[in-house]
């Protein structure tokens, strides 16, 4: 019997890391993506390599996932990370009152953290507000989402995976309740193909619900966009976070010659069409200025918004929905050979891939352990290059 074949739908961070994990385990992988790599949610994320500090007070699980994956990514993609740390900054008495809970949560989630004197924080970050009352340093970082995906996919290709971009899934093929492959349209050639598979993984992010509907099953994904504003100047060295519960405009991520303020949160029905509310942009600028007043003197370079694929919980506000991930084996819905992985964030893409690959390998009888925490990824440029 030959190697089992798995089709992964979606070349965002989850699909890319899943393809890499499965290819390492000896599975024959085909990735299909309707556009360019990372042209969906992943490409437009905040570029933040989470330490877990953002979530640890209210969500231990997400905090621990983040720091564990932060350390794993430092091992496997050191050339693609800007390891500049992050500062959680208190500017109000309310923020200050949050500090002890934050430090306790960091300790609980094994996130390295140390308090800096306000003067020291201002020395390290000259544009930081003079109103800083306290600051805590944590191992946040920065990555480029597109190249993050390219590195996983290039490594998957080196291990035999095929990646087909501009290839849109228009139908899931099934026989007697068993998904047997996908029907795709190659947008560059115009050709329609049927690709057979032993199992199909739905890594479609906020489009996962649409893909699942092709198999007449449901996944509880809530497309939840956020607006980010990129300034035309770099105003901070470290990632600057507000020391408080997550809210709008409480992070400024530095990248190259820019600083990116984010983010808001609301819900949409159609992740393909997200008009950016003007008041969200204004709010980002106002809130960003609270942390870095020099933002007032900088120009806007870009404004972006894309839907996060949050796992929806009835009656729970989107801001409070856990940033952890879930894997759905649709055998529970009466459909075999079809698995959805959703939720999470790019920092935890490798862990999401490990979870779904464990389930898939179990279903396919592939007896191979996950090795993705230790295998360094190849040069991201190999994805596109011929040589």
């Amino acid at each position: 019997m030959g190697r089992p074949r798995v089709i992964v739908i979606g070349a965002g961070s989850t699909g890319a890391a899943t393809a890499h994990d499965l290819a390492l385990r000896g599975v024959d992988v085909v990735v299909v993506e309707r556009g360019e790599v990372a042209s969906g949610t992943t490409g437009r994320n905040h570029c933040l390599l989470h330490s877990g500090g953002r979530y640890c007070v209210t969500d231990d699980e997400a905090g621990i996932e983040c720091i564990d994956e932060n350390l794993a990514l430092r091992r496997i993609m050191p050339d693609l990370l800007e390891l500049n740390d992050g500062l959680f900054v208190a500017t109000t008495e309310e923020d200050l009152a949050y500090k002890d809970a934050f430090l306790e949560a960091c300790a609980r989630c094994h996130i390295p953290a140390r308090e800096l004197e306000p003067d020291r924080a201002r020395q390290l970050e000259p544009f930081l507000t003079p109103d800083v009352l306290a600051a805590v340093q944590v191992p946040d970082g920065v990555f480029e989402p597109y190249r993050f995906c390219l590195a996983f996919l290039a490594t998957a290709q080196a291990n035999g995976a095929q990646v087909r971009t501009f290839t849109e899934v228009v139908d899931l093929d099934s026989t007697n309740g068993y998904v047997t492959g996908v029907t795709v349209v190659d947008r560059l050639t115009g050709r329609t193909d049927t690709l057979g598979a032993d199992l199909v993984i739905n890594a479609g992010g906020p489009w996962a619900e649409h893909l699942a509907s092709m198999a007449e099953v449901d996944v509880p994904v809530s497309p939840t966009p956020g607006v980010m504003v990129t300034m035309g100047r770099r105003l901070n060295n470290m990632v600057i976070n507000r020391l408080n519960v997550p809210s709008d405009g409480d992070i400024v991520v530095p990248q190259r010659t820019t600083s990116i303020i984010g983010t808001t949160s609301w819900s949409v029905d159609d992740p393909d069409h997200i008009p950016i509310p003007a008041d969200h942009v204004t709010r980002m600028l106002d809130r960003g200025r609270d942390l870095l007043p020099e933002i007032a003197a900088a120009s806007i370079r870009g404004v972006m918004a894309v839907a996060r694929p949050l796992i929806s919980k009835p009656g729970v506000d989107a801001r409070l929905v856990s940033r952890t991930f879930e894997c759905f084996d649709h055998k529970a819905d009466g459909v075999e050979g079809f698995v959805t992985i959703s939720g999470g964030k790019t920092t935890t893409a490798r862990a999401m891939a490990e979870k779904v690959a464990d389930i898939v390998c179990g279903k396919l009888g592939v007896d191979a352990p996950c090795r993705t925490t230790d295998i360094p990824l190849v040069d991201h440029r190999r994805f596109h290059a011929r040589s």
């Binding site: 042209s39 800007e82 390891l83 989402p145 501009f166 560059l188 990129t230 190259r256 008009p275 440029r381």
Partner: protein, 252 residues
């Protein structure tokens, strides 16, 4: 507030056949980018349109095209401004790279050259927090006080968008020319390495008939670069370095 714009979009069939322009009228918010308008064409009019995009803030470099005949990253190109220049706004694929489909070019050859340059995206990381890890390379050192904003920037500025290749008149006449992106990357990699032999090897790669000497000095790469990488100055600097090396060889 919204605006209505007509886009004149380059389209082609498989293998670059049946080349034509198609007009599409879209209504988008009034501070939309050209990329927002292209996405609206795709989302509401024609799902078969192929174009590349990812970050939407000029960081990934994938979306480079011609807007009204000039190279641009449409994710930061203001649609209203483009409309003032020309209506309908014309969008086309980059020049001097093989056409793959519609607004999409084949970047394989471009990335072959970028790989050969050995330039890394991140510079050597500076001091950082103590992190509990077994990895020797990742073991931490104390954080130091920053002495200026320039050293904060640890990602290389080149986003590998191919705009300099498209804008380069030399590339249009010599497809073996290494091109401004690779030549700038070679210069950058040479600054980053401490190995004298590697420095010489990288300078050798910039040399030759299809290297820095082939450049006509049009400076279009630097003019069009969305990231102020200044490839033309890198080319001229490497010419100066090569001349010095040759002169040193004669003195010996």
């Amino acid at each position: 507030m919204t605006i209505t714009a007509t886009l004149e979009v380059f389209r082609c069939g498989p293998g670059g056949t049946d080349r034509r322009f198609e007009e599409h009228e879209v209504t988008v918010h009034d501070d939309a980018t050209v990329l927002d308008a292209i996405e609206a064409v795709w989302a509401r009019h024609d799902r078969s349109l192929t174009f590349r995009h990812a970050c939407h803030h000029a960081s990934c470099g994938t979306c480079g095209i011609l807007v009204n005949g000039v190279e641009a990253l449409p994710c930061i190109a203001d649609l209203s401004e483009a409309l003032r220049q020309r209506s309908p706004v014309r969008v086309e694929p980059l020049r001097n790279l093989p056409l793959a489909g519609d607004l999409t070019v084949d970047v394989a050859g471009f990335f072959d050259r970028m790989r050969a340059s050995t330039m890394t995206i991140t510079r050597t990381a500076e001091d950082r927090l103590p992190i509990p890890t077994d990895g020797g390379d990742l073991r931490a050192r104390p954080v130091e006080v920053a002495d200026g904003l320039a050293r904060f920037n640890r990602f290389e500025n080149c986003v590998e968008c191919g705009i300099c290749i498209s804008a380069c008149p030399t590339m249009a006449t010599d497809d073996r020319f290494r091109g401004p992106a690779m030549l700038a990357a070679l210069a950058r990699a040479r600054v980053e390495t401490d190995d004298p032999q590697e420095r010489e090897r990288l300078l050798d790669l910039a040399d030759g008939e299809h290297g820095v000497w082939r450049c006509h000095g049009a400076w279009e790469c630097t003019t069009r670069c969305p990231q102020q990488v200044d490839p033309a100055e890198s080319i001229m600097q490497q010419r100066r370095d090569l001349l010095r090396r040759r002169l040193r060889g004669r003195v010996r």
